[in-house]
Point group: C2
Chain length 144, copies 2
DNA sequence: TATTGTTATACTCTATAACTATA
DNA sequence: TATAGTTATAGAGTATAACAATA
């Protein structure tokens, strides 16, 4: 990135506002009622990475360690996550998803499909394509 | 929008996760320490629309009326917003921004510029262009 | 002495329910 | 009777500070 144009500034202002509004919608229109967005996000991370320590998860989700302790405890209580001692460092803990979590994610994907189908009617093909391109960039921005 | 491909589903999953993480970052890396993201968003809306009733603001921000009452009260307490009786319907209230709010938004824009300049180093020109295209679509999605 | 994770506590933001005033 | 806004109260989610165990 070389230089910030006026357009860039206006875009980020709009981006900021849109992200906050969307996050509020997502917080309420959950595909799974019993799981918070962050809990869902942690499961997604575990599905991609296999396993991780609470500290790693906290850094990835941009949450403080105590918050991640709480989230992992919640997920463990619901049988979606397993906590095991780290093989080499006994201070650390290894968190991984259970088979039940995989089943739940599959079901969640199905529900999300329905929710999407409704929203889809309001966007054009081109707009969807734009979002598809933007998703990885937003991911990158989220943990830059 | 005609049909949902596998790519679309994967993109939305990633989009959801990225939006939630970004919203947490934005909640903390505020350009103005004393204002919440929603309060900033309300000021932005007022700057664009001129004035609005609490009910209109609540719908636009996807927040319940009592929450908007609180937000407007906060902004009024800080001298950033004016509450005036509606000329025709005495149940309603007209909210508009003060001159102080305009000055604050200008200063905020300057700080955001600095913050952006740091993030900008991590993105390519092409990635910025993608975000610039996506911003209006996200806005649309936020209040679809 | 530094680091990982946890416990205890408090704060911020938003929601729901009940109330007031006006239409 | 319905609607706009408010007040009172509660809940979800996250943070900071203090602590325990291990490196």
């Amino acid at each position: 990135m070389t230089k910030l144009s006026e357009d860039d500034l206006a875009a980020v202002s709009s981006l900021r506002s849109a992200v906050m509004r969307l996050s509020r919608r997502l917080r309420h229109q959950r595909v799974d009622e019993s799981l918070s967005p962050t809990e869902m996000s942690v499961l997604g991370t575990l599905a991609r990475c296999g396993s991780a320590t609470p500290g790693e998860l906290a850094r990835k989700e941009h949450v403080q360690p105590p918050s991640m302790t709480r989230i992992v405890a919640m997920l463990e209580g619901k049988g979606l996550v397993r906590r095991e001692p780290h093989p080499e460092d006994r201070r650390q803990v290894v968190v991984s998803q259970t088979e039940q979590a995989e089943a739940m994610l599959a079901e969640s994907r199905r529900k999300r499909n329905v929710w999407l189908a409704q929203l889809a009617e309001g966007l054009t093909d081109e707009e969807w394509a734009t979002l598809r391109d933007a998703a990885p960039v937003l991911e990158k921005l989220a943990h830059l």
